[in-house]
Each structure stands twice: as C-alpha cells, then as structure tokens.
Symmetry: C2
Subunit: 779 residues, 2 copies
C-alpha cells in the first residue's frame, strides 16, 4: 500500500532527519497534547526535557490542540447540574435551537452574498471582454481579461497570505479534523471567516478552476464556532448568556450544523448537506444532531429561496437565475437495459481510476506548493499570480483551437448568444457561427457545468473540443489546488468528470440509448466518487442538483463502482490532506496490529501527578515545566487509606483556580470554593484566548499556600487496565471522544496510575516508532 | 410527563402485584441477562433463588437475550487473527459484500412478490364485486366482498396465531430493539419470515387499513439474519464457510442492511431506506455500514426496476404500474410566499397534535388487544374476524353516504372508470355519475393514496366526503394495529394524513395558492412526523415517492414542526411499542438523574466468579444454578501473586469447552487446547440453537477434572471503577455496545471485582426501583 509507505517515510524523517522544523505549519507535526515537539529526540525517548520546555512556553507557538468531547463531570459541575432549575435547561435547549437558526440564517446569507458577488464581478469581467472580442480587439480583450483575473487573484492571495493563512485551501479537511477532535491553529477564527468569504468570491471570480463549496463548508463551520463562543472578544462582538456553550462538546455540535449548512448553501441541497455532515465531516453522531442539522439546512434552503425570489426582479445586478447551481435535467427520462448498465459500469471503473489518479497528483502538487508557500507571503502571492496567468491563457487561448461551427438554423436569435452566459458563444468566429469550446472555457464554472449537463444531441460539442476541455481542466484543477486562495475541490472535479462523461457518451453512443447529458452527470458522479469517496451524500447532492430522481439507481451504481475502484489505490482526497497537514486524525476502527499490543505498550511519560490538596508552588511548577493538559489527582493519607486515584484535573481549570487565588493557609479542604465559583467559570475560552500562566503574578507567600483541587477534579475519568488490548483501548478512546484516558495498574501495591493516553499515542506513526515490527502496511 | 408515570406504575406492578406472569409474551418483563424473572422478589432483593432457577432451566421458556456487539478478544481469537492469511480477510470482506448483494436481491424479490400478490388478489376481489355492483346486486356484492376479506384475514391470522406469533404487528420495533442489542424470542426466525411474507400479502389484500412497509422491514431483517447464520439448520438450508459471521456484530450489520432494503423495497426509495436504517432502526453506525446499506438498497432498486420492466408486457396478471407506490406529483410547481408558509406551519401544528393523539390511542388499543390476544390463538383469530367485518362494512357502507356527482363532460370515457382502479368509481351511482368516496374506500390503499395526492381542482372530492374518509380511516387505522396480522403503520398514517391535508387544503384555499395535492402530501408528512418522529428519512422517502424535489423546503418545515409539537406529548410510536413489549432498550444518552449515582449503586448480585483453571464440577454447577451469561475469571496463587482479575468468559464458550471435554487431570495449563479448537468453534449459534447444558453428559470422574479457561477468556474486558458516575458508565456501555461491564473496586485489598453491570441495570425501572427518589419524571 503506497500511502502507508509514505507515512512510514514521514516517521523516519521525523525521528532522525528533520531538525529544523519549528515555525509555520509544517507537514509532520507530532504533538504531545498541545506540545509541538521541537526536538525529535523527545518523541523517541518519550521524555520531556525540562529546560527546553520552559523555553517553548515563552515562545509564541500556537499548537495543534486536542479537544475534549467528554463531559467533565467534576463536583462543581454536578452541583451546578443539581441546582440548575428546569427553566434553565429549557433555556439552554431553546438557545441551542436559536443558534442553529442563526447558523442557518448566517450561512444562507453568506452563500447568497457569495453568489451575488461572483456573478456580478465575473459577469462584469466577461461582458467587458466580450465587447472587445466583438470588435475584434483580441489583444486588448486578453489584456483586460487576464488583468482582471490577476487583480482578483492578487486580492484573494493577499488576504490569505497576510490576514489569515488558515483560510487557504478547501477547509473541509480542517473542519473534518476539528470534528474528530483536533483544533488546528486559528482554523475557525473570525479573521479566517472574513478571508474565507471574500477570498472565495475573488478567487472564483478570478476564473480559477476552483469551487466555492469547500469554502462554504468552512464558512459555515466558522459561523458555528463564532456563535458558539458567543461572538468574538477581539472584534468587540460578544453576547453574554452563552455560558452553556463554553465547552468543546456543544461547540462541536454547532460546527457540525455549520458544515451541513455550508453544503446546503453551496449546492442548494439541504438533505445533501445533512448527509455530507454525517458521512464526511462528523466523527460522532447523535440522533438529536441529525435533527438539528436538518433544521439548519432547512433554514438555509428557505433563506436562499427567499433571496432568489427577491432577485427575480432584477434587484441583484448581473445575478440572474444562474448563480446557485441547479441543473435541470428533468427532461431526460432514463430508460435503460443491460448494455446500458455495462456501459455505466465501464464509465464508473474508468472514473474511479482517473479519480484516484487525481488524488495522487493533487497530493504531489500540494507537497511541492507547501515548500514554496512556506518561504513567505510574497512567494505565496507570486505562485497565485503565475497560476492566474496560466489559467487566463488557457481560458482565452484554448478556444482558438476549436473550429467555428455554423449556427443551427432552427435556433434563430439564440445563436450566437448575446450577453455573458448561454451555450453558443461567438468568440472569435464570424457571425452566425459559434465556438463550442468558448462556451465552456470563457464563462463561469457554474455555467460551464450547466452547459455540459445539457441534454440533447451530441452534436452541440465536437468530440475534439470536449477532449481538449477535459484534459485542460483536469490538469488545471490539479495544479490550482494548494495555492493560497480559498479553493473548493467539488467544482473542478465535477467539471472534469462531466466533460469526461460527455466524451465517453459520445464515444459509446452506439452501444447505449442513454443521453449524453445523463452521461455528463454520471461522469461527474464517477469522478466525485473516485476523489471524495463519499456515497450517499454525493448521490443525494447530485440528485438535488439535477432534480431528477429517476436517475437514482444509475448514479448509485456509478458512485459505488468508482469508489470501490479508487479505494484500491489510495485514500479519499480529504483524508489525504488531513494526513499531509499532520493533523492527528483518529480512525473510527482499530487497526489490526493494535490487537497484538496492550495499553501500557504505548503509554508515554513522564507522568505528573498532583495531590488532592496541593501546594500552589507545586501546581505552578507543574504548569510551567510541562504542557500536559491533564493531571491525575492522587489522594494520599491522611485523606485516604493509601495512595488512591481521585480523578483528573485539566490545565485550564487549574489556571482559573490559580488566577483567582482560591488558596488556603493549611492543607485542608476548603468549602468556600463552592460559593466562589460556578461551573461556567471554568468554561472553555475560545481558541487561543485562555488564561496564560505568564499573566498570573504570585507572591512567595502565596506559593507556599495550598489549594483544594477536589471540586474541579473529574471524579469519573475513564480508565483502562494496563493489560487491555490496544485495539480495545483505541475503540474506547475514539467512541467516547476522549482527550485523556487513564491507564491503571493491574496488580495492587503499585502507584495507582500507570500513565495517561492521549490522541498522539494512538497515531500509527507513534506506534510504529515504538514497535517497528507492527508495520501497518503488512496487515 | 405522562409516559414516565406510566412506566413508574409498571415498576410498581412488577415489584409488588403481578405474580402470575409466566407464559407468553407479557408487558412488563424484566430480565437479568437472559433470565425471565418468575418471582418478582428476585428483582427486589437482587438475589437469585437457586432452586427456582433450576426449575426454569428445565422449562421451555424462551427468554429475551442481550446481544454482544463487542469483539470478544480472547487468546484463541488473537491466535486466529494472527494466523489468518491476508487472503482469508479478503474472502471475509468479499463474502460480506456478497451477502449484502443477496439481501438486496432477496428483499427486492419479496417486495415484488408481495406487490404482485396483493395487486392480483385484491384486484380479483374488486373486479368480482364491481361486476355485481354494475348489475345492482348490492347484497351479493357485499357478501362476496366481505367474504373474500374474511377468508384472507383468517388465513393471515391463522398463520400468525399458529405458525409464528412473532410475525404479528409491524416488526419495526422488534428490529429496532434487536439492533439496540435485545433479541426477542424467535423474532428473526425463518418461520417468522415465512409468515411475514404471506401474512402481509393476505392482510393487505383483505382490505385492512394496514401497510406492507413495516412487514417489509421485518422481512428484510429476517433475510439478513437467515443469510448471516448461513441458512437455517431446521429447514435443511445451510451453507458452510459462513463461519466468520457467527457473531452478533456481523449479524447486526447484515440485519441493518436488511432493514434498509425493506424500506427501499416497500417505497422504491433506496436513499430513504438507507436513512431509515440510520435514523430509526440502527443504534450503532459506522461509515462502512453506510456504504454497505447503500449498496443493498441500490440492488433492491435495480431488481424492482427490472421486474417492473418485465411486468409492462402484461406478464404479471392484474399488476399494472400501480403496485409499487410512486406518486408522480411532478406537475405541481410549488411557488409560495409568507402566507403560504403560515398555512403550512398551521398544518404542521395540527398534524403534530393529531399524530401524537394517534400514538396515544394506538397505545391504549394495543394494551387492550394484548389482553385478548394472550388468551389463545382462537381469540386472536376471532379478533381479526371482527375487525375484518368492521372494515368491510366501512369500505362498502360509508361510500353510500356520499352524493353521486355528475361526470365532468371533458373527461369523456374516463368517467366513470371501468375496471378496478381510477379516480371516478361508479359504485351505486346512475350512469355518468361517480361516487368520490368509493374511489378512496373501495380500492387498495395504494390507489387511495394516489387518488388523494392527485393535483388539480379541489372539486374532485367533496369536502364532506374527505372529512368522512379522514375520520373513518383515522379510527380504523388505530383499531386495526395490534391484531394478529403483519401490519405496517406507514400506510394508515399516510392515508389519514393525506386526507387531513386535503381537507385542510380545501378549507384554507382562500389563504394560499398551494395546490390541494401538495396539501395532501404535506398533511401526510405532518402525520408521519407526528407519529414516527423521524425527520430526514421521512423527508427523503416522501421526496422519492413523489419525485419532486422542489417541495423539499416545505416538507422539511412541516416535518420539523409536527415532530416538535408531538414530542411535547409522548414518544414516537415505535419507541412506545418497544417500551410496551418490555424490551430493555438502551437510550443513546444518559438520563440526568444518572449523574447523581455511581456505578456500584446499581450493581446487582450475586457475583459468580471462576478460577483461571477451574474444576469441571464447579463450572457445571455455576452454569446450572445461574443463568448468567458472563463469568469473571480470577487468577489466584500460585498462578498469580494475589487474586487478580484475568477477564471474562462467556456461558456459550464454557458450554463448548465442557461439551468437547477439553479437560485435564491436574490443575495446570493445557497447551493442547490450542490445537483442538479454532476461534470459530466458539462462534455464536443462531437464536435458540446453542448447546444446552442438559444435553451434555458428564461422569463423576470428569466432574473432578480441571479445565483451562485462559484461552477463551476475554482478557480485555471493559471495566469501570466503582465510584464512576452512572451516567458515564451508561455512556460507555451504550457507545461500545457491551453486554457485560465489569465494576472494579477503587481501593486495593478487596476482591478484584465488585460486580457485573448488564443492560438490565441501566433500565430506568430498575434504577427507580432501587432509588425511588431518582424519579426520571422530575428531571
């Protein structure tokens, strides 16, 4: 398996060779619970070097953070829960629904704004160029076209390079990783949201072969996060009363809703959005969540419909009916027999092969680009400019390769098309002729797809034109992803797939009665299946796009085949990107080799435990020299009969206690803490906004005082016995969405805890590093 | 909350009053891991009375069984896993896909057979009656009609009463419970499958207000189970090589596929089927499963399409295009504004209220009928006969209440309808008139729904006729469910909902521009949302039925509103039935009151532990005096330093060891067991087909020998510390699909295990029985 060898090589590099890997977002980041390892030896020896640690704390490194999807059940939480009135619970539920509503409204609005923006900017650009073309000022036309594209591209790239680098790319892999429990730096920050919205508009309008679907999903997720945090402190937008949502679990739910809303907005496919969130984005799913995402997606659909009604009255500039893709292939009535099915199967197999090749090439290109992009913002912008020029050249130049076709007489005024969209572009041709390639290249991506999906005679496009378009778009799509603009992958893949399908339909027309428009749809399905590897959600999205349910069995068939074929070669494109970005993604199932190991085999140390009533100095020391996010609490005599595991306390909770100086002079339980704090004082702050140890000033005297950690100790941490098989441990960790899992000894008479397992410990790279014979590639 | 008071009352009855509850399937069954408690005191004291136990073993009581969705990782399994060649794993995967294919083919075939059967039998009956009506022989017509109905009803009832009582009812609640981990007696047996197929055909053809959807789901699940067992030993249909599927986990996956295939077959809605399996049926879900159910559903769709093509050539008797419901409301173009939305919201609210009332009444009727049905097969058949006569009277009698309407002249030959289906039934009217009620009552349910969904002028049905139909069908639907025939709930609910929607559409026509046909669809959606409480799957099923995606936002809205409204009053109808049947269903989330308890609070005893190398006599004794299905294994000196928890061994595995007499003379480890057994020798037999202790004969000498239990011990059982909060324990138990969860002590120096938690211990009834102050109704 090629992919696995790849990751093995990564590990080797990490362990032995790469030593200069500190700044920026690099490929092979390993984390020990929020700690970015500077010294590769740290990983090897599983020991934290104390001095280097403190240096890191000082530096402004923004680490990847694990998320805690478990409910932290400490005494304070329980007290709060008990005292919480019925009304308060109802208020919480109501707020949750209200937030879902707001996410739907927000995402719908953004989707609409995005479409208006793209259609107007791109439309203006195309009209301007068209006018020059009609007057045969070809050089000026190219200059205007390429110039507009370049300006828009630079705007998008500048936003990405200087304001929010995290906004580049699709965003779906990062959202997927977040929902799996990994928070990449500032991936859901308000600045990212801003850049994603405008960068996507500029990027798509600049004529790049990129889509707005991935960015819409990311936008939806950002909106969900922003609302879940109760706004943004940095930008002065905060709402109070959102205290219930200050935890990873509720935020995760809101972000899932946002992801569903994103797809619903991008494709006007609400059910498809829900299924996308379920199949591709989310790692945990509950029935209640299904319902809430469904609601959010419904709101998006209603909002979009309302806006489109409003735009019918020419209120939206150049935004016609064209903006939100909706391909009406309702006229095609699929009736098919056995030979048709064989043709479709063939289509699926080739589509799967081409799709997995697409993934392979995207991966290679991404790795190359990431080297360039890491050199600095200027290099990022330069790369975007080169790509923009290349794309302009292709869009403007390639149509000249095509012959001019005389207009069919029965069309009358429709050919050649006046204005910016339409199937019969005049381009460089004499009057009453049209250039079929121009109607694909010299237009927006949405219009190109609509043209490809059109049913009817296969004489509309020459086979040679389709072939040229397919090859160009396939390559452009691959080399465009990875540059520093928000770029979705759906549209390039649909474009390439639809042209492939139409080519195949023309070639195979003697064997089948199926329409070439239907072939284009099936081709798009096969490419999507081959790259994204989703099934049900893609099927529903395509059906919602085309509004024809009768094609269902054929689309299903093609998706299943192309996914199966492509799965033999590599992973889905999003999984590939997650892996490449070094985000520690936890798979749903345990790997076979994990059955041969036990939990204690992978425990990494050193362990740092605290007492139930601990000296402030010790706590501060622990916080300083480690970056652990969880500390086991051990009760010792006289508070218990022997050393006894009391539970786990989180770094962020400790910081709150220390900051508010809830100290006592003596080593005794302190009941006053119950009055001083409520559970939501320990709520999780937005990413990067927690209390920092450096900001807390403590006197010598205070350092000698004690603090009672019992009220904030999670008394029911999940534990496994050290001899538990690693496979079962991994399943427990993954299914319950844990951040820390305590390993306890099997035999009595030893310290009550052996170690803590975190996400990192289940990563194949880590395990293979410890046990090279457990090569995941062999089994 | 009314429902919760209800369950409290159940517990009271169970604890103190009901003592005569042994035979048959009764309401308030509590189980201690496969043990049906005869003596209510057993539960109260949490002690098993040894003598009464042995009596039960002898009696032929078929208990509810918990299922183990955890992988039993004992040494034998691990050895097998290690030695399993790569080819073998591929074979397993291939087989799994093949089984999915077979399930799809089988279910598709049954769905088609069912439709052919119903359409032909009911068609013949209706044609016969129609002829007599045309000759004004009204009494004879009624006699023939009611007689046919009665005969068919008796056939269905006799099958249910004598061959497979488990086949009565919808089957969805039982499938849902199975997928949650509860195996009700013979619910998936081959005899049940047989009765379900034929009983459903007879029942639907007999004109009852029942559907074939629930039975189709049950049929699909039975087919999945049958194939997963490698056929049926009892009926001589077995395949070898299916050893990999001899565990609950793989069987569960196949049954999930079967459930999806059932819905796909019943509604010709493959995506809806997948979503139904996901949203309603399954309790655990994996991405791989999504893919496999999708495949199964696609196969069903292709099979059905193939058969329908075949039937176009008049090869299928009276089966026209009508059989499989597919309502083409494509002509309706929904365009709506704010007032329309308000009307739709109103429709949803009333629909939700009526839906929850439906549930309430169904529950009451079911409880009444179950008392009658328990009296014996003859009573069951009598009840069916009474209902059949009543239904015949309604279908034949109520249309007389309607006026005869003159045929609209533009329809020509179409009015009155000749033949059995069509919208303008002549019935008792003079020539060139039609009876609008007859086209709803005097036809099959599918045709009635099709007639209700027809778009166009609201003059087709008189308002009074629609009202009469609505009231009659609402009541008939409620009183029909629960009689001893296979009866689905979808069709009655859709019928009532569609007529309600059409009534509302006629009444509200001045406020809205929406079509009455669309109103019928929305009414059906509101009723379905109000009774079934599904959202996404219902939405998709309705869209696939009507083949019009433009209605999506409205259908979504109505479903959300009706579900929200109905949720204020009671549970979904399937949950209600699960609860009423006493199946211990584990909810996905922990109840709030569980946070106030800890794991050891609910542990029930007594605990029966075995040593790692145990005397045969002790094992047999343990198997005899308890019905526990899991025994903790404690290693004691000299095999360990002190008493130490080694793991858990299952009853079924012990029985295999004892049956094959893998004994040694001395208390030592026995390496030869590794050669004697392979992992699949311990595979789970089909329900009710395991090894029985009574069948094993052991000599006195053998009883004194030893057996090494280590190889079959699950060395990695999941454990919780006794002080873990019950909420967290419940989440662990539920999320990982456990059957046994070991509770270990917090402090050293005590025996290494405190107790075992099983499904029963998490039931609210059990907890409230122990801690009456933890009333689930109060929080």
């Amino acid at each position: 398996m090629e992919m696995e060898e790849e990751s093995l090589r990564d590990v080797e590099q990490m362990l032995g060779k790469e030593e200069d890997d500190i700044g920026g977002m690099s490929r092979s980041i390993s984390e020990y619970e929020g700690l970015r390892l500077r010294d590769p030896l740290l990983l090897k020896n599983n020991r934290l070097n104390t001095t280097s640690q403190i240096a890191i704390v000082g530096a402004n490194v923004c680490p990847i953070e694990s998320l805690d999807y478990e409910i932290i059940e400490n005494d304070l939480f329980k007290q709060d829960w008990r005292s919480r009135a019925r009304g308060e619970i109802r208020q919480y539920l109501l707020l949750k629904w209200m937030l879902a509503l707001l996410i739907g409204l927000g995402t719908g609005l953004v989707a609409f704004f995005n479409n208006i923006g793209v259609e107007n900017i791109a439309g203006f650009k195309l009209l301007l160029t068209n006018d020059l073309m009609l007057n045969h000022k070809y050089h000026q036309a190219f200059a205007v076209y390429a110039g507009c594209n370049m300006l828009l591209a630079m705007a998008a790239a500048a936003l990405c390079a200087f304001v929010a680098p995290a906004a580049a790319g699709s965003g779906i892999p990062e959202v997927k990783a977040y929902l799996n429990g990994v928070d990449a730096p500032s991936i859901l920050a308000p600045s990212t949201l801003f850049v994603k919205i405008f960068g996507s508009i500029f990027g798509v309008a600049a004529g790049f072969v990129v889509g707005k679907e991935g960015p819409m999903v990311h936008t939806g997720a950002c909106i969900g996060n922003l609302l879940g945090q109760g706004g943004s402190k940095k930008y002065g937008l905060t709402w109070k009363g959102f205290k219930y949502f200050k935890n990873d679990r509720d935020r995760r739910d809101l972000i899932t809703c946002g992801a569903a809303a994103g797809v619903a907005g991008a494709f006007r496919a609400p059910v498809g959005g829900v299924l996308f969130a379920l199949e591709e984005a989310a790692s945990w799913w509950r029935s209640a969540l299904l319902w809430r995402t469904f609601f959010t997606a419904a709101v998006v659909a209603v909002v979009l419909r309302g806006f489109m009604e409003y735009c019918k009255g020419e209120n939206c500039g150049l935004f016609g009916e064209g903006g939100l893709i909706m391909f009406d292939v309702n006229s095609v009535k699929p009736a098919y027999s056995i030979p048709d099915l064989l043709v479709v199967i063939f289509l699926g197999v080739i589509g799967g092969l081409l799709g997995s090749l697409y993934n392979y090439l995207v991966d290679k290109v991404l790795r190359t680009y990431s080297v360039i992009n890491e050199k600095g913002p200027i290099f990022k912008i330069m790369l975007v400019m080169i790509l923009s020029f290349l794309t302009s050249c292709c869009s403007f130049g390639v149509p000249w390769l095509s012959k001019c076709i005389p207009c069919p007489p029965h069309l009358g005024d429709q050919c050649p098309t006046v204005g910016r969209s339409g199937h019969y572009k005049n381009f460089q041709c004499p009057p009453n002729h049209y250039n079929d390639l121009a109607s694909l290249f010299f237009t927006t991506n949405d219009d190109a797809i609509r043209n490809l999906f059109i049913a009817g005679s296969d004489k509309r496009f020459l086979l040679s034109s389709l072939l040229i378009f397919f090859v160009t778009i396939y390559i452009l799509g691959i080399i465009t992803y990875g540059i520093a603009i928000p770029s979705g992958l759906f549209i390039p893949v649909i474009l390439a797939g639809a042209s492939y399908g139409r080519v195949a339909g023309s070639l195979l027309s003697r064997f089948t009665v199926l329409d070439v428009g239907l072939f284009a749809l099936l081709g798009a399905a096969s490419f999507l299946g081959g790259t994204m590897r989703m099934t049900v959600s893609l099927c529903v999205i395509l059906l919602e796009l085309t509004n024809n349910l009768l094609m269902l069995p054929l689309v299903m068939l093609v998706l299943l085949i192309s996914k199966s074929v492509a799965d033999c070669f590599n992973k889905g494109v999003y999984d590939q990107i997650v892996e490449m970005k070094g985000l520690p993604y936890l798979e749903a199932h345990a790997q076979p080799y994990m059955r041969q190991l036990i939990a204690s085999d992978v425990v990494s140390g050193p362990l740092f435990t605290l007492s139930g009533i601990e000296k402030v100095g010790n706590i501060v020391h622990a916080l300083k020299i480690t970056r652990h996010n969880g500390f086991p609490i051990i009760d010792e005599p006289p508070f218990s009969d022997g050393p006894e595991l009391c539970g786990l306390v989180l770094r962020s909770h400790l910081l709150v206690l220390v900051k508010h100086k809830a100290f006592t002079m003596e080593q005794k339980e302190m009941p006053s803490i119950w009055n001083k704090f409520r559970a939501h004082d320990f709520g999780k702050a937005g990413s990067g906004k927690g209390i920092r140890l450096e900001d807390i000033e403590l006197s010598e005297e205070e350092m000698e005082m004690y603090v009672d950690l019992h009220p904030i100790t999670n008394r029911s941490p999940y534990t496994v016995v050290e001899t538990t098989s690693l496979a079962k441990t991994a399943v427990l960790f993954r299914e319950l969405g844990l951040r820390h899992l305590l390993v306890v000894p099997k035999t009595p008479g030893r310290p009550p805890i052996v170690g803590i397992l975190t996400r990192h410990d289940f990563m194949p790279e880590h395990i293979v590093g410890l046990y090279p014979h457990c090569n995941p590639a062999t089994k």
